[in-house]
């Protein structure tokens, strides 16, 4: 079928829908819902058999949904309606939630139901649930709906609140008033629930030191305590710990409330900086934390008590597991340096295999664009950050005393998608989406990609992957050799598979043989071209991206980063996504613009 995806942004779910539908042989084009006219243009040019909206905040124009079958993927159970579905589900402590595929009609979320899926709720942030449970259920329900449409005989179920299985209801958008934390009365559990329900957007509005901030990234603390609820009692790696009536809670990120938005060009040419985007809490608060003590944590933390930790370690049966769960997978200079330190400690442990687990939502997405944007000199901070991440990747590439595995549960993009290749084996969950390219950020890229990517997929594919900034799913990734194994999409099953496979590697004689092969290969590669030469060549290109020289500098990266950090929507859907524009605009330009320039 010809399927047009209409989405508010090309987010994780939209990427997944794109990859899954394309893998089934459907002809897919994408248009971002930038305006009703954009939607109409997409529909007119592409003439789809079916329209699917994986993530849509806007309304579809009536002339579109009345003439074409439009399916909306709604992150709620049957009967649930409104824009704050997941927020309410978390706040109300629902044990089970779901995803429903609805037909678009005049009234929002009130159309006929084509498919629905449910899942067990987990104690996690809204974004975490969206990326894991919602995405899995949405893809399943979407594919079922598509099959039902293809069958031609399926009749969708009208929304009928009198049916016993229609448990949802229409809910108003959740307001800050309802999210507000009452530090004098709310328990740690209640505070975490409130922050989780608003994470990653819009955040819970609160006052710190007389100024208004949105709070993000809540973690329970088991040891620290304070007398005054709401007071900041400690800081750790950029997060702050605040006392509550029955314990304390860590808050990792803050965003200043409403500062006037400045267009990129003005902001770029002025030296005034406004940090109206999400940043590590300590960075935002600055001098407010002068007297707040730093609460240290073991670089190879192996405890089980709840606290805020980005890096931790487990060990069993001669296998080490290094977790590094950085917010949104972004790794700043300091985070990279800490990761390198922890990695070295993990390598020194008496194990045979070291598994790099990454984080729960993302393995890694490369350098930390928000921290770079907030730096005094973004070009210098970019340079520091890329060098720090390269140091970590180099350490993995040159680990010769044990086997290394990248076990990818969350997604990974840009530098993160290249960094996984530094390990000897790459295993990934079935639903992972990889974005092994830098082009959308205007960068050449480093992380030794010019060494590891062609080594795995060959030079032609390497160029294709990096030049066309499209996501790839695990099926394609496995087929081209980007990864070695595809594992289960269910978390517990996945962990068990990782454990079994890692332990299998430790068994003699397989282990010794693999280790020997690894050392020989590395030595051979080093003789052909040393790793330092790959890095040097990549950094020569990156330097031009960061800061110019003889003919001035490029602006693409700085502008792309600004737009990314400030969530500026693009003016048009990128040509590599909008297949309909690619075809028809070329024809139009030939017709309308002969070479009489």
């Amino acid at each position: 079928m010809r399927i047009l995806l209409i989405s508010s942004s090309y987010n994780g779910l939209c990427q997944r829908a794109h990859v899954e539908l394309e893998a089934l042989g459907h002809d897919i084009s994408i248009t971002l819902a930038l305006s009703p006219d954009d939607i109409r243009k997409g529909v007119t040019f592409f003439q789809p058999d079916l329209i699917i909206c994986p993530f849509l905040k806007e309304k579809i124009p009536e002339d579109v949904w009345s003439k074409h079958l439009c399916l909306i993927i709604h992150p709620g159970i049957k009967g649930d309606r409104g824009p704050s579905s997941l927020d309410w589900a978390i706040m109300n402590g629902e044990a089970e939630w779901g995803v429903t595929v609805l037909q678009a009609v005049e009234e929002m979320d009130a159309g006929d139901i084509w498919a629905t899926e449910t899942f067990e709720m987990r104690r996690a942030s809204k974004a975490g649930i969206y990326r894991r449970e919602v995405t899995r259920a949405a893809v399943k329900a979407m594919l079922l709906a598509v099959r039902r449409i293809e069958s031609g005989s399926y009749r969708p179920e009208p929304l009928d609140y009198s049916k016993p299985d229609v448990r949802g209801q229409l809910r108003a958008p959740m307001k800050q008033q309802e999210r507000r934390i009452d530090w004098e009365h709310d328990t740690v559990a209640a505070i975490i629930k409130k922050i989780n329900a608003a994470d990653s957007a819009p955040g819970v509005l609160d006052v710190i030191d007389g100024k208004e901030y949105y709070l993000f990234g809540a973690h329970e603390e088991s040891l620290l305590q304070g007398w005054q609820p709401g007071a900041i009692i400690a800081q750790r790696h950029g997060a702050i710990c605040r006392a509550a009536i029955d314990g304390a809670v860590w808050i990792t990120h803050l965003k200043r409330k409403h500062i006037v938005k400045v267009p990129f060009y003005k902001r770029f040419l002025s030296h005034d900086k406004h940090f109206d985007f999400k940043l590590p809490a300590a960075k935002v608060l600055g001098s407010v934390l002068t007297d707040t003590p730093e609460s240290p944590i073991d670089p190879l933390f192996a405890g089980t008590e709840p606290t805020f930790k980005e890096i931790w370690y487990e060990e069993k049966n001669r296998v080490g597991y290094l977790h590094f769960d950085f917010h949104n997978g972004a790794m700043s200079t300091l985070q990279c340096r800490r990761l390198l330190e922890s990695y070295r400690l993990a390598v020194a442990r008496p194990t045979r295999v070291l598994v790099l687990i990454g984080g729960s939502d993302f393995w890694s997405n490369g350098i930390h664009l928000n921290v770079i944007e907030a730096a005094e000199n973004p070009a210098n901070e970019s340079w520091r950050n890329i060098n720090a991440i390269n140091d970590f990747v180099h350490e993995v590439l040159t680990t010769d005393g044990k086997l290394t595995v990248s076990a990818v549960w969350g997604g990974c993009g840009a530098g993160g998608a290249m960094a996984i290749l530094a390990a000897d084996k790459v295993w990934a969950r079935e639903g992972v989406i990889f974005n092994p390219h830098y082009k959308t950020m205007g960068l050449y890229g480093s992380e030794y990609w010019t060494y590891s990517l062609p080594k795995r997929v060959g030079p032609v594919k390497a160029l294709e992957l990096t030049e066309t900034p499209l996501p790839i799913g695990t099926k394609k990734a496995k087929a081209i050799g980007f990864i070695d194994e595809v594992l289960s999409d269910h978390y517990d099953e996945y962990l068990e598979q990782v454990r079994q496979k890692a332990e299998a590697l430790t068994k003699e004689p397989l282990f010794s043989r693999l280790l020997e092969e690894k050392r020989d290969l590395r030595q051979k590669d080093e003789r052909v071209k040393p790793l330092s030469a790959y890095r040097a060549a990549e950094l020569q290109k990156m330097k031009i991206n960061f800061s110019g020289k003889f003919y001035g500098g490029e602006v693409n990266y700085h502008e792309a980063r600004y737009n990314f950090v400030h969530k500026v929507r693009p003016k048009e859907t990128a040509a590599y996504l909008a297949k309909h524009m690619r075809l028809d605009a070329a024809k139009l330009s030939e017709l309308r613009q002969p070479l009489a320039y």
């Binding site: 210098n380 340079w383 950094l539 800061s547 003919y551 001035g552 500098g553 990128a574 590599y576 613009q593």
Partner: protein, 285 residues
């Protein structure tokens, strides 16, 4: 081309040497621009600086390195790092040693890719002056030549599509952090690239003003360059059957020598020809 200063790195474990060199070089100017001096007291400190500041990491014009610091060959290792690990072949590296016995001149110049060698006794202020001045000339000429070749390669690759040509040109014409202080315009057949209305208007006014001044011929075809008293430059390629008319207007803080102007003329000329041969498409990627 759009430099504000010339970055220079001094590495020496003797604080007095650093202080005296800094003092001696304080008032040096090359092509009217001052030096920006970075100092480090050991190889380790220099590495830290290189990893911390993209200007030291990538855009050093000159580096003066002592040899014996934390180890007997620390300075030479640092030289090796800059040349091979950073892939920086442009920076003019000089070895300045207090113990020539440990790192003899011939051995060092044979084994390391350095631009010169002298002992601390030889390093008088006059010697430093001539050395810095000549090495920055060398750095600028070599760097501009390489950058022009790279730019020309990018233009050649982009030939056929004006959109691709614009992409290749964006480092020059597009907005950049230096743009506010050193504005520049690329004007093809009377149309200003990369500019909003106000900027375009300013560019065209300037073109009219500079175009009226007498310039220096660049070739018999009538291409020329013009410089006014306010530091504005115009490199102009005449239009014709096979090439577009292109004007490259810019403000520079220093007067580029003749050689650099002809290098720039080279790329403007190439752009003029390629632009005429390319079609105006709307395709990205």
């Amino acid at each position: 081309m759009f430099f504000k200063h010339w970055p220079v790195l001094l590495v020496d474990d003797e604080p007095d040497v650093l202080a005296i060199s800094r003092l001696a070089m304080k008032n040096f100017e090359v092509y009217g621009l001052p030096l920006k001096i970075y100092t480090a007291r050991s190889k380790q400190e220099a590495l830290w600086l290189i990893n911390d500041d993209v200007e030291v990491g990538c855009s050093l014009a000159v580096a003066l390195l002592d040899v014996v610091m934390e180890t007997e060959r620390a300075g030479l290792e640092l030289c090796d790092y800059i040349r091979n690990s950073l892939g920086n072949k442009l920076t003019q590296i000089y070895i300045r040693t207090g113990q020539p016995g440990i790192a003899p001149e011939r051995e060092v110049i044979d084994r390391y890719e350095i631009n010169g060698y002298f002992t601390k006794v030889e390093a008088t202020e006059d010697k430093l002056y001539s050395l810095i001045k000549s090495s920055i000339r060398q750095y600028l000429a070599y760097g501009m030549a390489l950058a022009t070749v790279e730019l020309a390669n990018n233009l050649t690759e982009a030939a056929g599509s004006r959109r691709q040509l614009l992409y290749a040109l964006s480092p020059i014409g597009g907005l950049s952090p230096e743009q506010a202080e050193t504005p520049r315009w690329l004007i093809i057949d009377g149309e200003v690239l990369f500019a909003d209305e106000i900027d375009a208007g300013r560019g065209l006014q300037l073109l009219a003003r500079l175009g009226g001044l007498e310039g220096m011929p660049l070739n018999p075809a009538g291409d020329r360059y013009v410089r006014d008293s306010q530091g504005y430059w115009l490199i102009e390629v005449r239009g014709g059957a096979r090439q577009a008319q292109v004007a490259f207007l810019f403000k520079s803080r220093f007067a580029p020598p003749e050689l650099i102007v002809s290098l720039m003329h080279g790329f403007v000329k190439q752009l003029a020809v390629l632009w005429r041969q390319s079609r105006a498409d709307v395709l990205a990627y």
